[in-house]
């Protein structure tokens, strides 16, 4: 099995404060990994650094994606290579129609990979298929990106992008935050439909609940900027029963 993502002894600072203190994580093709941990353990920092968000200083270690140095790439190059971050809080972009955004993004990625750009009819056909399966109404696609969307709609829009862009690594940052159980089920079904032997997922969550819907192969517990325990899916249930306190001791 090929390692898709290799995070090696990663140390990251934000404004002089070290958040990740030497984090190591390997995700293979086809696997779904869950990263759990209390608030402030560095889960979101890890997802941001993988996606290339500015404001984080990597002081040591490396991140390899398909064997290439991810930290050397601009965020848009990472996206074109197949890294996708589903945001915890997807931004609203007034004045940019969702459809325009989706087409521009997809074609930018294809162009960067040297592939032909989608024609408008082909693109529309693809969007209709995918949005239908995610229960996303067509008029939502005409509105500004995420403008006036409910929490559930915003997350479904993230899953829609995942389905359209067909990344090989999906990082889902707190996908369950702000979702009721029905909204969570729809989003999770969308994610599960995208599971494939060539695609890996990293599901970041505070609660075990999400993992009832997206069942992981591997569960990691993060605390204070490191992975402190890894195990199978049963580890998540253990955590639900015992809490994070056992890992919080210095």
């Amino acid at each position: 099995m090929m390692a898709l993502l290799e995070v090696k002894d990663l140390k990251v600072r934000v404004e002089e404060r070290e958040i990740l203190h030497g984090l190591t994580l390997t995700v293979n093709e086809g696997e779904v990994h869950a990263i759990m941990g209390p608030n402030g353990s560095g889960k979101s920092t890890l997802s941001h650094v993988i996606a290339g968000k500015p404001g984080y200083e990597v002081t040591d270690g490396q991140i390899l994606f398909k064997g290439e140095d991810l930290l050397e790439m601009a965020p848009e190059e990472r996206a074109a290579k197949g890294v996708f971050l589903a945001f915890q809080y997807p931004v609203e972009i007034p004045g940019v129609a969702t459809m325009t955004f989706l087409r521009t993004a997809l074609n930018a990625q294809r162009k960067a990979r040297g592939e032909s750009e989608y024609s408008t009819p082909d693109f529309l056909k693809k969007v209709r298929e995918v949005s239908k399966s995610l229960n996303i109404p067509q008029d939502m696609l005409k509105r500004g990106v995420n403008v006036g969307f409910s929490g559930g709609e915003k997350k479904r829009n993230e899953v829609l992008q995942m389905a359209l862009f067909e990344p090989s690594l999906c990082i889902l940052d707190e996908m369950d935050s702000g979702l009721d159980i029905d909204a969570l089920r729809i989003a999770a079904d969308g994610v599960n439909a995208l599971r494939s032997p060539k695609r890996a997922m990293v599901v970041i969550t505070h609660y075990q609940r999400l993992l009832n819907y997206i069942v992981p192969d591997v569960v990691h517990v993060m605390s204070r900027g490191r992975v402190v325990k890894s195990g199978g899916k049963e580890l998540a249930l253990e955590l639900e029963a015992s809490g994070y306190a056992q890992f919080e001791a210095a």
């Binding site: 290339g52 968000k53 997807p90 931004v91 955004f101």
Partner: protein
Amino acid sequence: MNVAVAKTGGGRAVSDLFASAEGRLSASPDVIAARREAFESYERLGLPHRRIEEWKYTDLRALVGEVLPLAAAPDAAALKRASDAVKAHAIEGARKLVLVDGVFAAELSDVKALASEVSLMTLREALQKDPGVLKTVSTDAVIALNAALATDGVVLSIADGAQLSAPVQVVHVATAASVSVFTRSQVKVGKGARATIIESFVAAGAKTYQVNDAVIIAVGDDADVAHIRLMDDAPDAVNITSQFVTVGANTKLNFFNMTSGAAVSRLQGFITLAGEGSELSINGVNLLQKTEHGDTTLVVDHAVPNCVSREIFRAVIDDRAHSVFQGRIIVRPDAQKTDGKMMTRALLLSDEAEADNKPELEIFADDVSCGHGATAGALDDTLLFYLKARGLPEKQAQALLIQAFVGEAIEQIADDGLREHVIGMAERWLERRS
């Protein structure tokens, strides 16, 4: 070439400007007298400078320095160049009226295709009957200079009740370098009429020139009028345009301005709501780069009760460019129930870009709803990162956000085709930028 430069402070060279033009300005002794009076007023004042409050941010003495000699009437070669430029800037379905270097060019214009409810005269023709079109209430020096030297323009009258399906597009084409062009036009819109007027400013090969245009618009009661000004002059040009608008009762007016050219430009609009129950929507976009200076100065005068005015302006400022927005809303003592709002936002794309926003409310009535807002800032990093994380390179991500930013003003244009045309202009500007 005889370069008779007019110095700013008055003196011999300035007088030469008028003397050399006099032969072109012909017409009746009344007209000559009115022009001479206007010119003397200009000579006393000189070009506006920063110590004149209204021109504080646009010091023409510093930015322009001198008024170039009057453009000659276009020859056949100039008309040919103009014809190509007019085609390049055509708007589908519009009836074109073309002014080349300040002279009406009938051969390039769709005079015969004008609707029967539209009557057209040139300024030269109109002045033979009545020099009144040279008069405005303003004491502004550039407007006085325009009254003195306006060589031509269109005088349009749209009949009561006319429902014009095709827009009228006045195209100002510059073909000559190192000259100044003075035009003055008048548009009267009758009671209950519906019309769309477009004014385009374009260059046909010319690089360095100065445009001084004045437009006097009078809209009757119950009318519905859109006015779209698209200023796309050459990068080294100067464009000073003054609009005087009076609005009757129960009328809808939709104004839009796009500034995407010229080294130095100013659009100054003086709009008086003179009849009750009217709605004014006045919007615009400044797209500025390099060292361009673009000024939008508006005075909206609520002279009567029960009118609504809305102003939405957006400026995108790159490099060392400088955008100015001055918006004044006056509410006269009788103008109760006035509803006036003004919002201007500037997007600074570089550390050296500059935006000056000066909103002013002068309210003399006590039962009104008026407000203004002004912001200036950079692109939102959070939004940029989201777009980049989805695969858009920096410039493309910026372009998408800039289009959205100006879109808030552009979407006020009601006509789909015109709106798309303006979006296209913004897209081309963005392409030039990257």
